[in-house]
Amino acid sequence: MSHAAAASSDHHYTSTGLNTFKLGFWTLIGSESLFFASLIATYMVYKGESVRGPFPSDVFNIPLTSVSTFVLLMSSLMMVLALAAVQRGDRKGSLLWLFMTALFGSIFLGFQAYEFTHFYHAGLTLGTNVFGSSFFILTGFHGAHVLIGVIWLLTLWVQALRGRLGPKDAITVEVAGLYWHFVDIVWIAIFTLVYLLE
């Protein structure tokens, strides 16, 4: 009878051959998808229901938001480059692209901050109407996720700086990348359904 060594000595045996951390993270992404789906669905249900303004067309600046969307999309490209650099043990490349991803994410957040301030001065707050409530909470949660991602990337950058982000650590960068791309895809959904369909 063959004795499976797996349970006792092989740390990396898995039933599927997939990395456990990555599998767990995909599960979390599945969960988060439902979270954002509920927020987006609420926004859609409340479209056109505000009793008083400001209304979306009063405050939206599509060209500006298109630029910030482009910035966020580009950051996903940077993330891919960062992962590739880590996987091949390219320390300089890792530092560069991890930093650039975080930077572009921060630029996106800067645009969000500007937009929120502009809306606030136009008279749109959390409590003004259902548009304000559903818009700020949806984009606010998304922005919080971007911020967490930026912090995560910066901690990875610090690891790389200390020489502790080699190819054998690539899995943590891959998972960070999964998170980052997820946040980006959620934004694509938000940009389309909230801004472009207006």
Binding site: G30, S38, V45, S133
Partner: protein, 604 residues
């Protein structure tokens, strides 16, 4: 609880195995399972006490034992406690202890995350009950309908304890779901394909998928409520264009999968316990698995059967009615498979088996009243009456609790190394059967005769006094059953018969190792070839002997408990109605998480 001293070789963490600190920093799924179970059983007593208070108040018409305001707090907390602090955690307790053993793993996929879930649950449950100290316990029903729960109609802290407390608990559940899915998919022993897994593990997998998808919807509903109450948003504010009904939709989109989250573990227990006591493999294993998966899927499409009286219109009503009737089919398939498992078997009527049989019968009764409720015209008469209360108590007490008790009596020997007393077990069982049926069966009639839910008293002229009196007596008989159980546990821990590895001569892997198992669960495992490994040649000799090579176990950690405290704090700080305290709390959580990430998961 006794834990066997492990003969763990060098290279693993030593550390102290006893004492409070070892429990606070534990990441061992077995210890975490025990903590979940003990905590949940304490809440079971609290929720049961709340039930008895309800029954005293309702035992006669126009009673004044509890004021209306206190009554509202008691019945709200009874439901909230039983569902969120007992029903869900106790399943998680069993998942924690048993699932890794059943699949031949050493622990769950993310041991520290596992501990985090427990500590969040402990702190969150305590927080939700703190309201009692201020006579401001949640009082708006366990389902918190708006606009009652908006600031305008519930200005006090009651709804805040509820919404914040449940938000906290939801995080624990989602983390647990992620953990169990990953564990079951990725950490099975070689040869254990999905279709060779025990049914209890299968149901844990399906339930975990429901948890990770349904709880986020509830989180959104709760955030909307909290933000309306604390930060002035308008999600449920009809005056601003919002929609009180949005709450009902979001809540029940969560709430219906939630009831399957509650019952699937019990289905899993029955499917595992029956074969042990009928000496036959589970009949129709494949169909039982597929039915469970199907219930998980269809469960998403029935939520508005909780809203038939709201005025959605005939098309919506018809759709949800049909979906509700359809979901009875896979459920029925399971019941027939259980009956077929018993048919022709050599039945031993030990206590676990008795609970299984009662579960199948009582759950079926609950299922039948559920089918009635699934018809909109019938529901219009029955909704918001005691008919509904009868239905869900039959499925939850008759189904979930009886199933859980089958699980307790079955697995207690594995966890503690001692058998529970059979005689006391039978007292427990019969007191439950008589008590629960006396409590909940008459409720069908009370409901059809027009007794509404959630009323603190009723007029003499309604002639409901006798029925309610009988129901209340039934409640106290059930309580005696709980006492019998408590006495059984206390006594058996000290004097119970020593169990040995496999006292039931059962078929699944957890019975291959010692009772209780060593820290590392199994020294080594052969390749799994069938669904009933212990009936098909796997022997304890190799599995439970001393380890042949060094075994690396995850190291204890204090970051889970610290992170749990920080998460609790962050959400509780929303009650200040300022934005920066929760942000500070979030920064604290981030600090904890970063430290956690830098700590190695196990020594190498």
């Amino acid at each position: 609880m006794a834990t066997a001293e492990a003969t763990i070789q060098s290279g693993t963490t030593a550390g102290r195995k006893t004492g409070l600190w070892s429990w606070i920093t534990t990441v061992d799924h077995k210890r975490i399972g025990i903590m979940y179970a003990v905590t949940a059983l304490v809440w079971f007593l609290v929720g049961g006490l709340e039930a008895l208070l309800i029954r005293i108040q309702l035992a006669k018409p126009e009673n004044d034992f509890l004021s209306a305001d206190v009554y509202n707090q008691i019945f709200t907390m009874h439901g909230t406690t039983m569902i969120f602090l007992v029903g869900m955690p106790i399943a998680v307790a069993l998942f924690n202890y048993i699932v890794p053993l059943q699949i031949g793993a050493r622990d769950v996929a993310f041991p520290r995350l596992n501990a985090l879930s427990y500590w969040i649950y402990l702190f969150g449950g305590i927080f939700m009950n703190v309201g009692f100290l201020f006579n401001a316990a949640p009082n708006m029903g366990w389902f918190g309908y708006t606009p009652l729960t908006t600031k305008m109609y519930t200005p006090g802290l009651n709804a805040d304890f509820w919404s914040v407390g449940l938000q906290i608990l939801g995080i624990a559940s989602i983390m647990g779901g992620v953990n169990f899915i990953t564990t079951i998919i990725n950490l099975r022993a070689p040869g254990m394909t999905l279709m060779r897994m025990p049914l209890f593990t299968w149901m844990a997998l399906v339930q975990s998928f429901l948890v990770i998808t349904a709880l986020p919807v509830f989180a959104v509903a709760l955030f909307f409520l909290s933000f309306d109450r604390f930060y002035g948003t308008n999600f449920y504010n009809t005056m601003a264009g919002g929609e009180a009904l949005l709450w009902q939709h979001l809540f029940w989109i969560f709430g219906h999968p939630e009831v399957y989250i509650l019952i699937l573990p019990a289905f899993g227990i029955i499917s595992d316990v029956l074969p042990a006591f009928t000496r036959k493999p589970l009949f129709g294993y494949n169909m039982v698995v597929y039915s469970g998966v199907l219930i998980g899927f269809i469960g998403w499409g029935v939520w508005a059967h909780h809203m038939f009286a709201v005025g959605m219109g005939p098309i919506a009503d018809a759709f949800f009615s049909i979906a509700t009737l359809i979901i009875a089919i896979p459920t029925g398939v399971k019941i027939f498979n259980w009956l077929a498992t018993m048919w022709g078997g050599t039945i031993r009527f030990n206590t676990p088996m008795l609970f299984c049989i009662a579960m199948v019968a009582m759950f079926t009764i609950g299922g039948i009243s559920g089918v009635h409720l699934g018809s909109p015209p019938a529901d219009l008469h029955e909704t918001d009456t005691y008919y509904v209360v009868a239905h869900f108590h039959y499925v939850l007490f008759g189904g979930l609790i009886m199933g859980l008790f089958a699980g307790f009596y079955y697995w207690f020997p594995k966890v503690t190394g001692r058998m529970l007393d059979e005689k006391l077990g039978k007292w427990n069982f019969w007191l439950f059967v008589i008590g629960a049926n006396m409590t909940f069966f008459p409720m069908h009639f009370a409901g059809l005769l027009g007794m509404p839910r959630r009323i603190f008293t009723y007029a003499e002229e309604l002639n409901l006094g006798t029925i309610n009196h009988i129901i209340s007596i039934g409640g106290f008989i059930t309580a005696l059953g709980v006492l019998a159980f408590a006495w059984n546990v206390i006594r058996s821990l000290k004097k119970g018969q020593i169990a040995g590895n496999n006292p039931w001569d059962a078929h699944t892997l957890e019975w291959a190792t010692t009772s209780p198992p060593p820290e590392y669960n199994f020294s080594e495992l052969p390749e799994i070839r069938t669904r009933e490994p212990l009936w098909d040649g796997v022997s304890s000799v190799d599995v439970a002997g001393p380890p042949k090579a060094p075994i690396h176990m995850p190291s204890p950690s204090y970051w889970p408990i610290l992170t749990a405290a920080a998460i609790n704090l962050t959400l509780i700080l929303m009650m200040t109605e300022l934005w920066w305290p929760p942000v500070l709390g979030a920064a604290l959580v981030l600090l904890c998480v970063i430290n956690w990430a830098y700590e190695p998961a196990s020594e190498h």
